[in-house]
């Protein structure tokens, strides 16, 4: 099996020998954002669903843990998870947009288009920029709504 064979076989050169470009960045970001969504995003979604089904008290406990604890004396644990929860939610928003835009790029690549060096570089850059922009726009909208 791979990993156990003697080193006589030729090996693919790994990341450090290449000069980094946006196409490499968008590729690894597609994997990173996808894995983040698959593990953290799906897990949080199931937790949220379970809290909805479990009733108002459980749901309030869920919100107090990951978003805002309304009690006057907030425990140290909730102080930490309230901050952590917001970081995770912003991160998941970014992962959603990054994976969505990067996935759309892959649909275009699947047709055989967009492999020319210039257009590949351009669309890789656009995907990364759009992911950051859409995340910022979403959270500006949420904060504007909250005010």
């Amino acid at each position: 099996m791979a990993g156990n064979e003697p080193n006589a076989r030729p090996r693919a050169p790994h990341l450090q020998v290449y000069k980094w470009g946006p196409h490499m960045a968008v590729s690894i970001l597609h994997r990173a954002s996808g894995d983040g969504l698959a593990i953290v995003g799906a897990g949080l979604f199931l937790w949220w669903l379970g809290a909805i089904a479990a009733g108002p008290e459980a749901y309030a406990a869920f919100v107090a843990c990951i978003w805002h604890d309304p009690s006057p004396e907030i425990s140290l644990f909730h102080q930490i998870t309230n901050i952590l929860g917001k970081i995770v939610l912003v991160g998941l928003t970014w992962a959603f947009f990054q994976h969505l835009f990067s996935g759309l790029r892959h649909f275009v690549l699947d047709t055989g288009a967009g492999y020319e060096l210039k257009s590949n570089k351009l669309w890789s850059t656009v995907v990364i920029a759009a992911g950051v922009f859409a995340t910022a726009a979403t959270w500006l909208y949420i904060m504007a709504e909250a005010l």
Partner: protein, 133 residues
């Protein structure tokens, strides 16, 4: 590595002949995800998420519950395929089998929990308690 012989296939080496199926399923579930996760995303932005009664009313709407169940199927199918590739790239030797088994537990178990929970929410009897309906 397997050389594609019958013995190699029996040992789980070489091509399994399912590569294009994996590729196609990843794309088709991706299309489902574009539609269904976008629906969830817009809903999350627009819902008063701190209000349990409002969220419950939304999630128990039959069309919403159906969309959520379809989303769970599409998402957990897609994430199983994606995480499989991740595991195959970084985990080697006997741990590979264990990792893939755990992945199936996660994908199938998580998906089943999600579908069952949505069904529970949608099919829960309406209680006419204080504040209910």
């Amino acid at each position: 590595m397997g050389d594609g012989t019958h013995l190699g296939k029996v040992r789980g080496l070489g091509s399994s002949g399912h590569g294009s199926q994996h590729w196609l399923q990843q794309r088709l579930t991706a299309l489902g995800n574009i539609l269904l996760v976008s629906f969830l995303f817009v809903s999350l932005i627009r819902l008063p998420l701190g209000d349990h009664a409002a969220v419950l009313r939304w999630a128990s709407d039959p069309m919403v519950a159906l969309a959520l169940i379809l989303m769970v199927v599409s998402v957990f199918w897609h994430l199983r395929l994606g995480l499989q590739v991740l595991i195959e790239d970084y985990v080697h030797g006997p741990m590979l089998l264990l990792a893939l088994v755990l992945l199936n537990f996660y994908a199938i178990g998580g998906g089943a929990y999600g579908i069952f929970t949505i069904a529970r929410i949608a099919l829960a009897p309406v209680t006419a308690g204080p504040g209910g309906m």
